[in-house]
Amino acid sequence: MTESPSRPPAAHPARAALAALRRCLVIALFAGVLLGWAADGRASDGDSDPLEGYNRVMFEINQTVDGLLLKPAAEFYVLAVPEGVRFRISNVLGNLGEPLNLLNNLAQGKMERAGTSFMRFTVNSTVGVVGIFDVATDWGLERAPEDFGQTLASWGVGGEPYLVLPLLGPSNPRDAVGFGVDWVADPVGHLMPAEGGVARGVLSGVSQRAEHIENLETLERTSVDFYAALRELYKQYRENAIRDGAAGASLEVPDYDFDEELDGYYDEDLDSYLDEDLEKYLEEK
Protein backbone atom coordinates (compact mmCIF):
# COMPACT_ATOMS: atom_id res chain seq x y z
CA MET A 1 0.00 0.00 0.00
CA THR A 2 1.33 3.41 -0.89
CA GLU A 3 1.28 6.16 1.68
CA SER A 4 -1.49 8.59 1.11
CA PRO A 5 -0.44 12.22 1.39
CA SER A 6 -3.79 13.04 2.96
CA ARG A 7 -3.42 10.88 6.06
CA PRO A 8 -4.63 12.55 9.25
CA PRO A 9 -1.94 14.78 10.79
CA ALA A 10 -2.24 13.25 14.28
CA ALA A 11 -1.57 9.71 13.04
CA HIS A 12 2.19 10.07 13.44
CA PRO A 13 3.67 10.11 16.95
CA ALA A 14 6.17 12.87 16.16
CA ARG A 15 3.43 14.95 14.63
CA ALA A 16 1.20 14.34 17.65
CA ALA A 17 4.01 15.28 20.03
CA LEU A 18 4.71 18.44 18.07
CA ALA A 19 1.02 19.35 18.07
CA ALA A 20 0.83 18.77 21.85
CA LEU A 21 3.98 20.83 22.44
CA ARG A 22 2.63 23.57 20.22
CA ARG A 23 -0.66 23.56 22.15
CA CYS A 24 1.16 23.80 25.52
CA LEU A 25 3.30 26.65 24.30
CA VAL A 26 0.38 28.53 22.82
CA ILE A 27 -1.50 28.23 26.12
CA ALA A 28 1.57 29.31 28.09
CA LEU A 29 2.15 32.26 25.75
CA PHE A 30 -1.49 33.26 25.89
CA ALA A 31 -1.59 33.07 29.69
CA GLY A 32 1.64 35.01 29.91
CA VAL A 33 0.48 37.71 27.53
CA LEU A 34 -2.83 38.13 29.39
CA LEU A 35 -0.94 38.38 32.66
CA GLY A 36 1.39 40.92 31.14
CA TRP A 37 -1.32 43.10 29.69
CA ALA A 38 -3.34 42.90 32.91
CA ALA A 39 -0.35 44.37 34.72
CA ASP A 40 0.46 46.93 32.05
CA GLY A 41 -0.67 50.49 32.68
CA ARG A 42 0.81 50.36 36.16
CA ALA A 43 4.16 51.94 36.91
CA SER A 44 6.17 52.20 33.71
CA ASP A 45 9.46 53.94 34.47
CA GLY A 46 12.73 52.55 33.12
CA ASP A 47 13.47 49.69 35.49
CA SER A 48 9.89 48.82 36.24
CA ASP A 49 9.01 45.20 36.82
CA PRO A 50 5.36 45.16 37.90
CA LEU A 51 5.22 41.37 37.63
CA GLU A 52 8.34 40.84 39.73
CA GLY A 53 6.59 38.55 42.23
CA TYR A 54 5.33 36.16 39.55
CA ASN A 55 8.49 36.60 37.46
CA ARG A 56 10.85 35.58 40.24
CA VAL A 57 8.84 32.41 40.95
CA MET A 58 8.76 31.48 37.26
CA PHE A 59 12.48 32.30 37.00
CA GLU A 60 13.25 29.84 39.82
CA ILE A 61 11.11 27.16 38.18
CA ASN A 62 12.88 27.73 34.86
CA GLN A 63 16.26 27.60 36.59
CA THR A 64 15.32 24.23 38.11
CA VAL A 65 14.11 22.84 34.79
CA ASP A 66 17.25 24.16 33.11
CA GLY A 67 19.46 22.51 35.72
CA LEU A 68 17.67 19.19 35.39
CA LEU A 69 17.14 19.03 31.65
CA LEU A 70 18.40 21.68 29.29
CA LYS A 71 21.82 22.38 30.78
CA PRO A 72 22.76 18.67 31.13
CA ALA A 73 21.59 18.12 27.54
CA ALA A 74 23.72 21.06 26.40
CA GLU A 75 26.72 19.78 28.35
CA PHE A 76 26.32 16.32 26.83
CA TYR A 77 26.10 17.93 23.39
CA VAL A 78 29.34 19.81 24.01
CA LEU A 79 31.06 16.61 25.16
CA ALA A 80 29.73 14.40 22.39
CA VAL A 81 30.00 16.73 19.42
CA PRO A 82 33.33 18.37 18.49
CA GLU A 83 33.41 22.16 18.36
CA GLY A 84 33.86 22.32 14.60
CA VAL A 85 30.76 20.19 14.02
CA ARG A 86 28.70 22.19 16.54
CA PHE A 87 29.72 25.33 14.68
CA ARG A 88 28.49 23.85 11.38
CA ILE A 89 25.22 22.72 12.96
CA SER A 90 24.55 26.19 14.28
CA ASN A 91 25.30 27.56 10.79
CA VAL A 92 22.70 25.22 9.27
CA LEU A 93 20.11 26.17 11.90
CA GLY A 94 20.89 29.86 11.36
CA ASN A 95 20.47 29.43 7.62
CA LEU A 96 17.04 27.86 8.12
CA GLY A 97 16.08 31.05 9.95
CA GLU A 98 16.93 33.32 7.01
CA PRO A 99 13.51 33.16 5.28
CA LEU A 100 11.95 34.42 8.50
CA ASN A 101 14.58 37.19 8.70
CA LEU A 102 13.67 38.10 5.15
CA LEU A 103 9.93 38.29 5.90
CA ASN A 104 10.45 40.39 9.03
CA ASN A 105 12.86 42.71 7.25
CA LEU A 106 10.23 43.20 4.54
CA ALA A 107 7.52 43.79 7.16
CA GLN A 108 9.70 46.55 8.62
CA GLY A 109 10.41 48.04 5.21
CA LYS A 110 14.14 47.38 5.56
CA MET A 111 14.79 46.59 1.93
CA GLU A 112 18.59 46.50 2.10
CA ARG A 113 18.57 44.08 5.03
CA ALA A 114 15.83 42.03 3.35
CA GLY A 115 18.13 41.77 0.36
CA THR A 116 20.96 40.67 2.61
CA SER A 117 18.82 37.93 4.16
CA PHE A 118 17.74 36.78 0.71
CA MET A 119 21.30 36.76 -0.56
CA ARG A 120 22.57 34.97 2.52
CA PHE A 121 19.97 32.24 2.14
CA THR A 122 20.69 31.89 -1.58
CA VAL A 123 24.46 31.84 -1.24
CA ASN A 124 24.71 29.71 1.89
CA SER A 125 22.13 27.15 0.75
CA THR A 126 24.05 26.59 -2.49
CA VAL A 127 27.74 27.50 -2.27
CA GLY A 128 27.60 26.97 1.50
CA VAL A 129 26.07 23.48 1.08
CA VAL A 130 22.69 23.74 2.88
CA GLY A 131 24.16 26.35 5.18
CA ILE A 132 27.03 24.29 6.58
CA PHE A 133 29.49 26.99 5.55
CA ASP A 134 28.64 30.61 6.14
CA VAL A 135 30.17 31.79 2.88
CA ALA A 136 27.95 34.88 2.85
CA THR A 137 29.60 36.38 5.95
CA ASP A 138 33.02 35.96 4.32
CA TRP A 139 31.66 37.87 1.34
CA GLY A 140 30.66 40.78 3.55
CA LEU A 141 27.01 39.80 3.93
CA GLU A 142 26.67 39.97 7.70
CA ARG A 143 23.57 38.46 9.27
CA ALA A 144 20.56 40.76 9.40
CA PRO A 145 18.45 38.97 12.01
CA GLU A 146 14.87 40.14 12.60
CA ASP A 147 11.99 38.50 14.39
CA PHE A 148 8.35 39.47 14.71
CA GLY A 149 8.93 40.92 18.17
CA GLN A 150 11.30 43.41 16.53
CA THR A 151 8.78 43.99 13.74
CA LEU A 152 6.12 44.84 16.34
CA ALA A 153 8.63 47.17 18.01
CA SER A 154 9.22 48.93 14.69
CA TRP A 155 5.45 49.40 14.48
CA GLY A 156 5.54 51.15 17.84
CA VAL A 157 4.76 48.36 20.32
CA GLY A 158 6.73 48.81 23.56
CA GLY A 159 8.65 46.16 25.48
CA GLU A 160 6.98 46.53 28.89
CA PRO A 161 6.32 44.79 31.17
CA TYR A 162 9.11 42.29 31.62
CA LEU A 163 7.69 38.79 31.63
CA VAL A 164 9.35 35.46 32.38
CA LEU A 165 7.66 32.78 30.28
CA PRO A 166 7.41 29.16 31.35
CA LEU A 167 10.32 27.21 29.80
CA LEU A 168 11.12 29.99 27.29
CA GLY A 169 12.47 32.39 29.93
CA PRO A 170 12.97 36.19 29.71
CA SER A 171 10.44 37.95 27.48
CA ASN A 172 7.61 40.49 27.40
CA PRO A 173 4.12 40.39 25.89
CA ARG A 174 5.36 41.88 22.61
CA ASP A 175 8.16 39.38 22.14
CA ALA A 176 5.97 36.49 23.31
CA VAL A 177 3.42 37.30 20.60
CA GLY A 178 6.30 37.75 18.17
CA PHE A 179 7.63 34.30 19.02
CA GLY A 180 4.22 32.73 18.43
CA VAL A 181 3.69 34.55 15.12
CA ASP A 182 7.18 33.61 13.90
CA TRP A 183 6.51 29.99 14.70
CA VAL A 184 3.25 29.92 12.81
CA ALA A 185 4.53 31.99 9.88
CA ASP A 186 7.94 30.34 9.42
CA PRO A 187 8.05 29.17 5.79
CA VAL A 188 10.72 26.57 6.60
CA GLY A 189 8.50 25.08 9.32
CA HIS A 190 5.72 24.56 6.79
CA LEU A 191 7.99 22.84 4.29
CA MET A 192 9.56 20.47 6.83
CA PRO A 193 8.09 17.13 7.80
CA ALA A 194 6.96 16.92 11.44
CA GLU A 195 9.99 14.87 12.53
CA GLY A 196 12.26 17.48 11.00
CA GLY A 197 10.42 20.23 12.85
CA VAL A 198 10.83 18.45 16.19
CA ALA A 199 14.51 17.71 15.53
CA ARG A 200 15.12 21.31 14.49
CA GLY A 201 13.39 22.67 17.59
CA VAL A 202 15.26 20.41 20.01
CA LEU A 203 18.60 20.87 18.28
CA SER A 204 18.36 24.65 18.17
CA GLY A 205 17.36 24.74 21.84
CA VAL A 206 20.29 22.57 22.87
CA SER A 207 22.71 24.29 20.49
CA GLN A 208 21.82 27.78 21.72
CA ARG A 209 21.98 26.70 25.36
CA ALA A 210 25.38 25.10 24.70
CA GLU A 211 26.74 28.39 23.34
CA HIS A 212 25.94 30.08 26.65
CA ILE A 213 27.02 27.49 29.23
CA GLU A 214 30.17 29.36 30.20
CA ASN A 215 28.74 32.88 29.91
CA LEU A 216 25.75 32.16 32.09
CA GLU A 217 27.83 30.40 34.72
CA THR A 218 30.21 33.37 34.89
CA LEU A 219 27.33 35.82 34.99
CA GLU A 220 25.69 33.93 37.85
CA ARG A 221 28.98 33.72 39.75
CA THR A 222 29.69 37.42 39.36
CA SER A 223 26.25 38.91 40.02
CA VAL A 224 24.62 39.81 43.30
CA ASP A 225 21.12 39.43 41.85
CA PHE A 226 21.09 37.00 38.94
CA TYR A 227 17.40 37.55 38.25
CA ALA A 228 17.79 41.34 38.00
CA ALA A 229 20.98 40.99 35.95
CA LEU A 230 19.25 38.74 33.40
CA ARG A 231 16.22 41.01 33.27
CA GLU A 232 18.38 44.04 32.44
CA LEU A 233 20.45 41.97 30.04
CA TYR A 234 17.34 40.86 28.18
CA LYS A 235 15.96 44.40 27.93
CA GLN A 236 19.20 45.82 26.57
CA TYR A 237 19.77 42.84 24.29
CA ARG A 238 16.37 43.35 22.69
CA GLU A 239 16.81 47.11 22.39
CA ASN A 240 20.13 46.48 20.65
CA ALA A 241 18.50 44.00 18.27
CA ILE A 242 15.74 46.50 17.49
CA ARG A 243 18.40 49.14 16.71
CA ASP A 244 20.18 46.55 14.50
CA GLY A 245 23.32 46.97 16.59
CA ALA A 246 23.73 50.70 15.98
CA ALA A 247 25.29 52.61 18.86
CA GLY A 248 22.62 53.14 21.47
CA ALA A 249 20.89 56.34 22.43
CA SER A 250 23.13 57.71 25.13
CA LEU A 251 22.06 56.76 28.62
CA GLU A 252 22.81 59.70 30.82
CA VAL A 253 25.80 59.42 33.10
CA PRO A 254 26.12 62.65 35.10
CA ASP A 255 29.41 64.39 35.69
CA TYR A 256 29.81 64.16 39.43
CA ASP A 257 31.60 66.84 41.35
CA PHE A 258 34.64 64.84 42.35
CA ASP A 259 36.10 67.38 44.72
CA GLU A 260 32.91 67.69 46.64
CA GLU A 261 31.10 64.41 46.33
CA LEU A 262 33.87 61.88 46.02
CA ASP A 263 36.70 63.56 47.86
CA GLY A 264 38.38 61.26 50.33
CA TYR A 265 36.62 58.11 49.12
CA TYR A 266 39.29 56.93 46.76
CA ASP A 267 43.06 56.99 46.51
CA GLU A 268 44.35 59.08 43.61
CA ASP A 269 47.89 57.82 44.10
CA LEU A 270 46.73 54.40 42.92
CA ASP A 271 47.19 55.63 39.34
CA SER A 272 50.92 56.02 39.46
CA TYR A 273 52.08 52.96 41.30
CA LEU A 274 49.76 50.63 39.43
CA ASP A 275 51.26 51.82 36.16
CA GLU A 276 54.58 50.28 37.13
CA ASP A 277 52.94 47.04 38.27
CA LEU A 278 51.23 46.62 34.94
CA GLU A 279 54.31 47.37 32.90
CA LYS A 280 56.25 44.85 34.93
CA TYR A 281 53.55 42.22 34.43
CA LEU A 282 53.35 42.75 30.69
CA GLU A 283 57.13 42.67 30.40
CA GLU A 284 57.37 39.37 32.25
CA LYS A 285 54.76 37.64 30.13
Binding site: D47, E83, F87, G115, T116, M119, T122, V123, T126, T137, W139, G140, L141, E142, R143, E214, N215, E217, T218, L219, R221, T222, S223, V224, D225, Y227, A228, A229, R231, E232, L233, Q236, Y237, E239, N240, A241, R243, G245, A247, G248, S250, L251, E252, V253, D255, Y256, F258, E261, L262, Y265, Y266, L270, D271, L274, D275, D277, L278, Y281, L282, K285
Partner: protein, 213 residues
Protein backbone atom coordinates in the same frame (compact mmCIF):
# COMPACT_ATOMS: atom_id res chain seq x y z
CA UNK B 1 13.45 24.76 -18.55
CA UNK B 2 14.17 26.44 -15.27
CA UNK B 3 17.90 25.80 -15.11
CA UNK B 4 19.08 28.89 -17.05
CA UNK B 5 16.86 31.16 -14.92
CA UNK B 6 18.22 29.67 -11.70
CA UNK B 7 21.73 30.14 -13.00
CA UNK B 8 21.08 33.71 -13.94
CA UNK B 9 19.56 34.41 -10.52
CA UNK B 10 22.55 32.78 -8.93
CA UNK B 11 24.99 34.83 -10.99
CA UNK B 12 23.08 37.98 -10.03
CA UNK B 13 23.28 36.92 -6.41
CA UNK B 14 27.04 36.48 -6.66
CA UNK B 15 27.54 39.88 -8.29
CA UNK B 16 25.39 41.57 -5.66
CA UNK B 17 27.29 39.81 -2.90
CA UNK B 18 30.60 41.12 -4.20
CA UNK B 19 29.18 44.64 -4.52
CA UNK B 20 28.02 44.58 -0.90
CA UNK B 21 31.41 43.31 0.20
CA UNK B 22 33.19 46.01 -1.75
CA UNK B 23 30.98 48.73 -0.29
CA UNK B 24 31.61 47.51 3.23
CA UNK B 25 35.35 47.71 2.65
CA UNK B 26 35.09 51.22 1.25
CA UNK B 27 33.57 52.68 4.43
CA UNK B 28 36.99 53.80 5.60
CA UNK B 29 37.35 55.25 9.06
CA UNK B 30 38.59 58.80 9.45
CA UNK B 31 38.80 58.58 13.23
CA UNK B 32 42.12 56.80 13.56
CA UNK B 33 43.81 59.99 14.75
CA UNK B 34 41.28 60.52 17.50
CA UNK B 35 42.96 60.30 20.92
CA UNK B 36 40.08 58.09 22.12
CA UNK B 37 40.81 55.66 19.27
CA UNK B 38 44.45 55.36 20.27
CA UNK B 39 43.55 55.17 23.95
CA UNK B 40 41.17 52.22 23.49
CA UNK B 41 43.60 50.46 21.16
CA UNK B 42 46.06 50.73 24.02
CA UNK B 43 43.70 49.56 26.80
CA UNK B 44 42.32 46.73 24.65
CA UNK B 45 45.82 45.73 23.58
CA UNK B 46 46.86 45.40 27.22
CA UNK B 47 43.85 43.23 28.04
CA UNK B 48 44.51 41.05 25.00
CA UNK B 49 48.15 40.68 26.07
CA UNK B 50 47.03 39.48 29.51
CA UNK B 51 44.59 36.97 28.03
CA UNK B 52 46.88 35.73 25.26
CA UNK B 53 49.11 33.43 27.22
CA UNK B 54 46.80 31.91 29.78
CA UNK B 55 48.74 28.67 30.08
CA UNK B 56 51.57 30.54 31.81
CA UNK B 57 49.56 32.59 34.28
CA UNK B 58 47.11 31.94 37.09
CA UNK B 59 43.73 33.60 37.34
CA UNK B 60 45.02 35.61 40.31
CA UNK B 61 47.83 37.04 38.19
CA UNK B 62 45.46 37.90 35.37
CA UNK B 63 43.09 39.50 37.85
CA UNK B 64 45.93 41.62 39.25
CA UNK B 65 46.80 42.74 35.72
CA UNK B 66 43.15 43.63 35.03
CA UNK B 67 43.15 45.61 38.25
CA UNK B 68 46.08 47.67 37.03
CA UNK B 69 44.51 48.19 33.59
CA UNK B 70 41.22 49.27 35.11
CA UNK B 71 42.55 51.59 37.80
CA UNK B 72 44.61 53.30 35.16
CA UNK B 73 42.16 53.30 32.26
CA UNK B 74 38.72 53.39 33.91
CA UNK B 75 37.10 56.14 35.90
CA UNK B 76 36.44 53.77 38.78
CA UNK B 77 35.26 56.48 41.23
CA UNK B 78 32.68 57.74 38.74
CA UNK B 79 31.51 54.21 37.95
CA UNK B 80 31.24 53.37 41.66
CA UNK B 81 29.25 56.50 42.34
CA UNK B 82 26.94 56.08 39.33
CA UNK B 83 26.15 52.45 40.00
CA UNK B 84 24.93 53.27 43.51
CA UNK B 85 22.58 55.94 42.11
CA UNK B 86 20.43 57.80 44.60
CA UNK B 87 21.46 55.44 47.39
CA UNK B 88 24.83 57.19 47.56
CA UNK B 89 23.23 60.27 49.08
CA UNK B 90 21.57 58.30 51.87
CA UNK B 91 24.72 56.32 52.73
CA UNK B 92 26.80 57.11 55.80
CA UNK B 93 30.49 58.01 55.66
CA UNK B 94 31.50 54.50 56.76
CA UNK B 95 29.20 52.85 54.24
CA UNK B 96 30.59 54.96 51.42
CA UNK B 97 34.16 54.12 52.30
CA UNK B 98 33.40 50.43 52.68
CA UNK B 99 31.51 50.48 49.38
CA UNK B 100 34.27 52.26 47.44
CA UNK B 101 36.81 49.71 48.62
CA UNK B 102 34.72 46.67 47.91
CA UNK B 103 33.39 47.92 44.57
CA UNK B 104 36.86 48.18 43.06
CA UNK B 105 37.59 44.57 44.02
CA UNK B 106 34.19 43.51 42.74
CA UNK B 107 34.37 45.21 39.34
CA UNK B 108 37.89 43.89 38.77
CA UNK B 109 36.65 40.38 39.57
CA UNK B 110 33.70 40.86 37.20
CA UNK B 111 35.78 41.99 34.24
CA UNK B 112 38.58 39.49 34.85
CA UNK B 113 36.04 36.64 35.07
CA UNK B 114 33.81 37.62 32.17
CA UNK B 115 36.68 38.19 29.78
CA UNK B 116 38.68 35.17 30.91
CA UNK B 117 37.02 32.91 28.33
CA UNK B 118 38.69 34.97 25.60
CA UNK B 119 42.07 33.82 24.33
CA UNK B 120 43.35 33.93 20.77
CA UNK B 121 40.99 36.67 19.64
CA UNK B 122 41.96 39.69 17.62
CA UNK B 123 40.91 43.08 18.93
CA UNK B 124 40.13 45.73 16.32
CA UNK B 125 39.12 49.34 16.94
CA UNK B 126 36.66 50.33 14.22
CA UNK B 127 35.50 53.90 14.72
CA UNK B 128 34.86 56.73 17.16
CA UNK B 129 31.48 58.40 17.51
CA UNK B 130 30.98 61.75 19.21
CA UNK B 131 28.11 61.16 21.58
CA UNK B 132 25.67 64.00 22.19
CA UNK B 133 26.56 63.83 25.89
CA UNK B 134 30.13 64.91 25.04
CA UNK B 135 31.51 61.43 25.64
CA UNK B 136 33.21 59.44 22.89
CA UNK B 137 31.89 56.05 21.91
CA UNK B 138 34.71 53.90 20.58
CA UNK B 139 33.34 50.99 18.56
CA UNK B 140 35.44 47.84 18.48
CA UNK B 141 35.17 44.22 17.42
CA UNK B 142 36.60 41.08 18.91
CA UNK B 143 37.25 38.63 16.08
CA UNK B 144 36.99 34.98 17.04
CA UNK B 145 39.82 32.70 15.92
CA UNK B 146 37.24 30.01 15.02
CA UNK B 147 35.68 32.46 12.56
CA UNK B 148 32.31 32.86 14.30
CA UNK B 149 30.32 36.08 14.35
CA UNK B 150 32.51 38.90 15.74
CA UNK B 151 31.64 40.30 19.17
CA UNK B 152 30.84 44.02 19.13
CA UNK B 153 32.23 45.98 22.07
CA UNK B 154 31.68 49.72 22.57
CA UNK B 155 33.78 51.71 25.02
CA UNK B 156 32.33 54.91 26.40
CA UNK B 157 35.17 57.31 27.05
CA UNK B 158 35.12 60.55 29.06
CA UNK B 159 37.88 62.99 29.80
CA UNK B 160 38.64 63.89 33.40
CA UNK B 161 41.58 66.00 34.52
CA UNK B 162 42.95 65.86 30.97
CA UNK B 163 43.09 62.07 31.00
CA UNK B 164 40.83 59.81 28.99
CA UNK B 165 38.95 57.27 31.07
CA UNK B 166 36.58 54.43 30.21
CA UNK B 167 33.25 54.86 32.00
CA UNK B 168 31.31 52.01 30.38
CA UNK B 169 31.88 48.86 28.36
CA UNK B 170 28.97 47.82 26.17
CA UNK B 171 29.13 44.24 24.90
CA UNK B 172 26.67 43.47 22.07
CA UNK B 173 24.58 46.43 23.17
CA UNK B 174 24.60 45.46 26.84
CA UNK B 175 26.02 48.12 29.14
CA UNK B 176 27.98 46.80 32.12
CA UNK B 177 27.45 50.09 33.93
CA UNK B 178 23.67 50.11 33.67
CA UNK B 179 23.32 46.40 34.34
CA UNK B 180 25.26 46.85 37.58
CA UNK B 181 23.17 49.83 38.57
CA UNK B 182 19.92 47.92 38.07
CA UNK B 183 21.26 44.88 39.87
CA UNK B 184 22.56 46.88 42.85
CA UNK B 185 19.33 48.86 43.12
CA UNK B 186 17.38 45.62 43.19
CA UNK B 187 19.49 44.27 46.06
CA UNK B 188 19.40 47.54 48.03
CA UNK B 189 15.61 47.72 47.68
CA UNK B 190 15.28 44.28 49.22
CA UNK B 191 18.18 44.15 51.68
CA UNK B 192 19.46 47.69 52.20
CA UNK B 193 22.95 48.98 51.48
CA UNK B 194 24.57 46.84 54.17
CA UNK B 195 22.87 43.85 52.58
CA UNK B 196 24.49 44.78 49.25
CA UNK B 197 27.91 45.20 50.86
CA UNK B 198 27.51 41.73 52.43
CA UNK B 199 26.50 40.18 49.10
CA UNK B 200 29.42 41.82 47.27
CA UNK B 201 31.84 40.50 49.89
CA UNK B 202 30.29 37.03 49.62
CA UNK B 203 30.84 37.09 45.85
CA UNK B 204 34.47 38.06 46.36
CA UNK B 205 35.01 35.32 48.96
CA UNK B 206 33.54 32.63 46.71
CA UNK B 207 36.13 30.46 44.98
CA UNK B 208 37.07 31.54 41.48
CA UNK B 209 36.78 29.08 38.66
CA UNK B 210 38.98 30.01 35.82
CA UNK B 211 37.71 29.54 32.29
CA UNK B 212 41.21 28.46 31.27
CA UNK B 213 42.16 24.91 32.09
Amino acid sequence: MSIPITRRAFAAALVAAFLVAAMAGQRAQASEDDPAFVFIEDVGGQAVAVLRDKANSTFEEREAAFRAIMVKGFDVPLVSRFVLGRHWKAATEEQRKAYMNIFLDFIVRVYASRFDSYGGEEFVVRSVIDDESGDKIVRTQVLRPSGGQPVHVDFRVRERKERLKVIDVVVEGISMLHTHRVEFTSVINRKGLDGLLGDLQARLDAPVESAAE
